[in-house]
Amino acid sequence: MATITVDGNDIQVGDDERLNVIQAADRAGVAIPFYCWHPGLSVVASCRMCLVETGMKNKDTGEISMMPKLVPACQTPAKDGTVVVTNSPKVRANQNFVQEGLLLDHPVDCPICDKAGECWLQDYYFSYGHQERRADVRPFTSRKRDLGEHVTLFVDRCVMCSRCVRFTQEVSGGSELLVIDRGSHAEIDVFPGFPLDDQMSGNVNDLCPVGALCSKDFLYQQRVWFMEPHDSVCTRCSTGCSIQLHVSQNQLYRIQPRYNPNANDWWMCDIGRFENESVRAPERLSSIEHRSADSKTGAGFSNRLWPEGLKAVHGALSEIAARTGGSTLAVVLSPFLTCEEAYLLATYAKTISADVVLALGKVPVEGADKTFKSGFTIRAERCPNRLGVEQILRHFQKSVIDWPALLKKVEAGELQGAYVSAGYPVAWIDEAEAAAFERLSLLVVHDILPSPLARKAHYVVPGVSFAEKDGSYVNHSGLIQWGEWGLTPVEGAHVDGQTFSDLLGRKGLYQAASVLKELAGIVPFFARAADGVPQAGLNLVTGTEKHPRTTALGTVTHPLPTFRSVGTAFLETEAVSRNGSNPISG
């Protein structure tokens, strides 16, 4: 064990932990301010905000020899015997001067700056800054620069921490951003004709500690303090990034990544971050629709109220199973369902008849896996829960019938009816594929958006998007993660789990957590999740995962957890757990 002294208090650090002084001080409950350092990026020590006094303690004599000058805490390793002083007048004076220097040519247009409220410059100003302004600089409007499809640079707000530049060099690998000019004229820019438009560009907005880099998607939309965060899971590929939904007045304003060393580290891609129109799309399905037999033209849908509509669906499914046998009825489990929903739907299918065919819904694949320099990968498999649904299918009927196999069965006329759950956030089926289902005498489509298949359906049941439901997803590596709802369902739609629970005839409200417990008891694959899923997830395949440690300080004081997701909650990361002992309960 290494002993490190922070402001007179000794703390013990494991020998193999390799912490820097910022992390060590944080563990001691002392916050050291910083801008440029980020645990996911290389250290440049350029912002000078984290300068502290350090020294070494002689183990034998107990004598402390201090360094004559301040050193950057981010660059100083915390070794055995390291002594750190963070609150001396010298350190305070330096922090004062750094803040004052940054604010000299800062526009201070906080009222219209989207970062205000989660801006480090603002927070540090209150904690470490000069409270009086000695230079006669009046507030002014920042220049604005277009850096790419998603990113706007407010040039004068920048504090030149170079996080974004290092991100494009080290994580996304595109090296689009650079610093032009020198000294006080230094600015961030791109080369003409080479904008920042790779699929990781949104991360630089989160990385920016001030309001220089702003997301075009979120620009001027809402102030950050109005939004409440909801921890969720991205459903756009099988990486399953941990995300936060930022919601105000039941409206999704932005999505930010949440630190998860098992899935996405600090990052997420622009697809998951920006392409979420489906959540509040005006064309969302919003009532149970029934196409009556006499209007085959397709325009003859009539709305049904929920309880009666669902009863009719149940009646129609049971009638098919009774008339032509259970094996002529297929129930399709979409890979967009949560594990709990898939389990309930499969259970329901088997209550209709033990012979009902369970199939895996269409797994959308786009191109090949795209891996970035740091190892972050956008998976070709664009669905969140293929693995989880497959495990449930295996449990209920041994083999997995995938979408092509199901299509064959349909075309061969082996099926009379089908219940197709979908929930795809984008168009997922074309007319040709949908045409095969025309031969069925009963087609129930459970989806969120209109599709060619829904137009052919006899019953359309509206579902909800990922932002509107609780539940767990198993990603490509077997990591089960818990997503929490952030929005109420669009009017007229019911949460999928509730729908399945109602179909099963269960009473009361659907509680995803208790269904997961039930599932863990029945399907051995999910056994480890019986007591809930911790924030960083549980790897059901390997049984091993890392858990971010809650730091002693609970981070730099800040109103929004957003800040923590990109800031300091990850000061310490790796605590490996095995089989069930979860440091953070789900």
Binding site: D109, P111, I112, P139, F140, R143, K144, R145, V155, Q222
Partner: protein, 189 residues
């Protein structure tokens, strides 16, 4: 809390004197008090003002907290920069703003829509205090009436028209744009 709790301090009524115990003096006190007021009002020395005919007098209309207005700058544009600070400060949550990029070169952001629900408003003046550009102000218009709830939800145009209505009587408390000095404004690229 129980009646015998130590936290309760029981205070006994003061003992009545002889006159008080007869009840007579207090009763006569009451009668004479009301009689004095009766005859004072009857002599025409009351305080009532005949409202619609006789407008009330304000000590200082500039500090009265009546209907809101949105101020305009010299070019007649709304001064508001859609910073949402009034909405943040508002304890009644009656301000609803939709911000967007401004069409003007010297301004970053402006309110696409600015709505105040005057029925929800408690006229505390916090929005006025919070505004960094002195765009929202409370006027001395106090007789705020409407025939429907919808009518009492003031949108940007109506709030600007309140400015036109009151700007002569109550000048803006600060002049000129607040946040546009220093380096020349403009957009890069």
């Amino acid at each position: 809390m129980q009646p015998d709790s130590k936290q309760i301090k029981w205070v006994d009524e003061p003992k009545l004197g002889l006159a008080g115990r007869l009840y007579l003096t207090p009763l006569i006190d009451g009668l004479s008090l009301t009689a004095r007021h009766f005859f004072r009002t009857a002599r025409g020395e009351g305080f009532t003002r005949q409202f619609p005919e006789e407008r009330p007098l304000f000590g200082n209309p500039l500090i009265y907290r009546g209907v809101h207005r949105l101020n305009k700058d010299e070019q007649g544009r709304v001064k508001c920069v859609a910073c949402f600070l009034c909405a943040t400060a508002c304890p009644a949550h009656c301000i609803d703003i939709i911000g967007t990029e401004s069409p003007w070169a010297d301004r970053e952001k402006y309110p696409q829509s600015f709505v105040i629900d005057e029925l929800r408003c408690i006229f505390c003046g916090m929005c006025e205090e919070a505004c960094p550009v002195d765009a929202i102000e409370l006027t001395s218009l106090f007789d705020l009436t409407g025939a429907s709830r919808e009518e009492m939800v003031f949108d940007k145009e109506k709030l600007l028209s309140v400015y036109d209505q009151t700007c002569d009587l109550e000048p803006m408390r600060s002049r000129g744009p607040a946040a546009h000095s220093g380096p020349p404004p403009g957009k890069d690229h």
